[in-house]
Point group: C2
């Protein structure tokens, strides 16, 4: 195994997530990146590479070649600027590539970002285009992401007795968590009746079981931990990084209650960090649907398979619970600009570990960010620790 250098996050930036009218994809990415660069206090000429996570720019806004364009607009000279794509995990993949470049010594300072512009299409158009893009055959058979997660939900309920109420409690928690978060798209309290009486989307998932369509961007500046102190009072070290893929369709899936890519990415990240699930103080995970949070919380090792539902009901995943999950509001409340989400999750975890989150988990030292693409085609997991 290669000798890896320690890498830290020294700057973070984010747009608000939501319907950002008048903002192009490039505008949003530059806004978040400029904020991250200013937060790091790094001179632009010291940035040696740029990775952008984005999923749907071609499908939704007819744009590509955006990474070089953003790099040029940011004044980053002739550095390599590369878009990476892995569905909704695109920004997690961008973060991982920045991490690897610094860890291996290929660069000392790297900028990463994720960005997505979705609201220029209608919700129906976005939903259809992204589903078709991710899994063509099943889309042709009528499945959108909500449809696929509806099937996964039914299977989990069938195998483990997970209840409709437990799903709703995920939504209620995340909607509550989003209220103090100025970056969140939805900042409104929700009751059990609100969720259970909301419009049916894909049985058993109702409207408030589903994350919204969002615009947004988030960005991080990474550098060697050795140099981090020059720029930042509160560097946060990246302790572990994992990246894995798996079968993304239902007709060949080995399991409908576990995302194999998550399990494998988490194993890699925990191994690299030398940590275990019980060491984690705060988690941002990929709750694109309420059931996704329950499945993810099991796949990441916080609960035994099948125990994710009861754990929510017992309050274990609340901000003051045993393992706080999605104190930012998660995708359900904060929004899900798909290619931005992985960096947005890391942004929220870093704010927690700096101790200045709007929904602070008391004494958080170690955090985890989990990004999932499509219905399990790809996942990244990153473990962070405050210095």
């Amino acid at each position: 195994m290669v000798n890896m250098r320690s890498v830290s996050v020294i700057g973070i930036g984010s747009t608000n997530f939501g319907r950002l009218e008048g903002w192009s994809l490039v505008d949003m990415a530059c806004e978040a990146a400029n904020e991250a660069i200013a937060d790091a206090g790094v001179p632009r000429e010291k940035i040696q590479a740029f990775y952008l996570g984005n999923f749907g720019s071609g499908i939704l806004v007819g744009q590509e070649t955006i990474a070089p364009k953003i790099g040029y607009q940011l004044g980053l000279g002739t550095i390599p600027a590369t878009k990476v794509e892995g569905a909704c995990a695109s920004a997690g993949i961008a973060l991982r590539h920045g991490f690897l470049l610094v860890a291996t010594g290929l660069a000392d300072i790297v900028l990463v970002a994720g960005a997505e512009k979705m609201t220029s299409a209608t919700t129906a158009q976005s939903t259809a285009a992204l589903a078709a893009a991710a899994e063509e055959l099943e889309y042709k058979a009528g499945l959108t992401f909500a449809g696929a997660f509806g099937i996964w939900s039914h299977r989990h309920m069938h195998e483990f007795g997970t209840t409709r109420k437990q799903l709703a409690l995920v939504s209620i928690k995340n909607k509550k968590n989003g209220i103090p978060n100025p970056r969140a798209q939805f900042r409104k309290k929700m009751t059990l009746d609100d969720v259970l009486e909301s419009r049916m989307i894909a049985d058993p998932l109702r409207l408030y079981d589903c994350c919204p369509i969002s615009d947004g961007a988030a960005s991080l500046v990474l550098c060697t931990t050795e140099m981090a102190g020059e720029y930042c009072d509160k560097p946060v070290e990246i302790m572990g990084s994992g990246h894995a893929t798996a079968c993304s369709n239902i007709y060949e899936a080995e399991s409908l209650v576990q995302f194999r890519a998550t399990v494998e990415a988490a194993r890699q990240a925990y191994d690299m960090a030398g940590l275990k699930p019980s060491d984690i103080d705060v988690v941002e995970l990929h709750d694109c649907f309420t059931m996704a949070e329950i499945i993810d919380s099991e796949d990441l090792g916080f609960f035994e398979k099948g125990q994710g539902g009861p754990a929510v009901e017992e309050g274990l995943t609340q901000v003051r619970g045993k393992i706080p999950i999605n104190p930012s509001g998660g995708l359900l409340s904060k929004g899900h600009p798909v290619g931005a989400t992985g960096c947005g999750q890391a942004y929220e975890v870093i704010k927690q570990l700096r101790g200045d989150h709007e929904n602070q988990v008391s004494g958080a030292e170690i955090g985890l960010a989990h990004n999932l693409g499509a219905t399990g085609a790809v996942s990244t997991v990153h473990v962070f620790r405050r210095r």
Copy 2:
């Protein structure tokens, strides 16, 4: 600087380039990758990562998340499988990422590929969609890629006296080179009159100054040079790799006769290889238009700026010339499935250095592949040497 391990190419595969009806993007990528894996004789379970270059899958065929899908279809397990995008340089970027992973010790064996499906749209649709995707503002002002390269051509002719005939001679040479290449889309001899009387596309560029719209895929298997002998009788070492970006539009361009990204990527690749332009025996460079070959041949250091035109006229770039350029037929003859081209060029160079190319450059030991994205937004350069 990090201590890099030597990396070699041990397997290559390619579809033919052209109109591949009935073949999906995933089909083509799998075909090329399976050929490369078989050529390397590597067991699939030893492949530790996969990079795919692709530009327009979202815009042209409404598909994303294709890298995990191809990885799954190839039976590569849960390894990271990532699409990288940098316009027409996407596959060069994929190759570079595979190279870096092995060079830094993060992996021992990596698969890279490039793939593009273009002919499912009409030529007019592809041309418009890709131009809009690469440079939105100038596309809205009426510029396609041919239009932009027309402007660059006029400027080069104005500054250096490059002639219309010299442009035609690039086309005639590359069309001739394509004849023995079974992977080439066009395998037909062309005369000066053919080129000069072909339909005007964007003054001064005529139809046969322009590369065609193509489908295709190409793939390479990389591993440490130390291990290469286990798998391959004729490993080819990657001596240098460069990757740079620059301004991609005309309204802000510093120069209309030089691609700054190429100059910078070439500098990096030559420096890493410890070689200079005069050491190179064979070149595959990005001749999307005849003038592009002339500009590239200068930017890569084979001729002084402004001397690319006369060099063609003197026959210096012929297969038996001083510096053979595009013996495969280049993009003009072989075709340009945009996101596949960078791996396709590397494929042709490797065949040359193995000594088994259909249009063999006698005694070729060192080769160079140059990939350019958009109108200079991004470039990669790789230098190879036979072992």
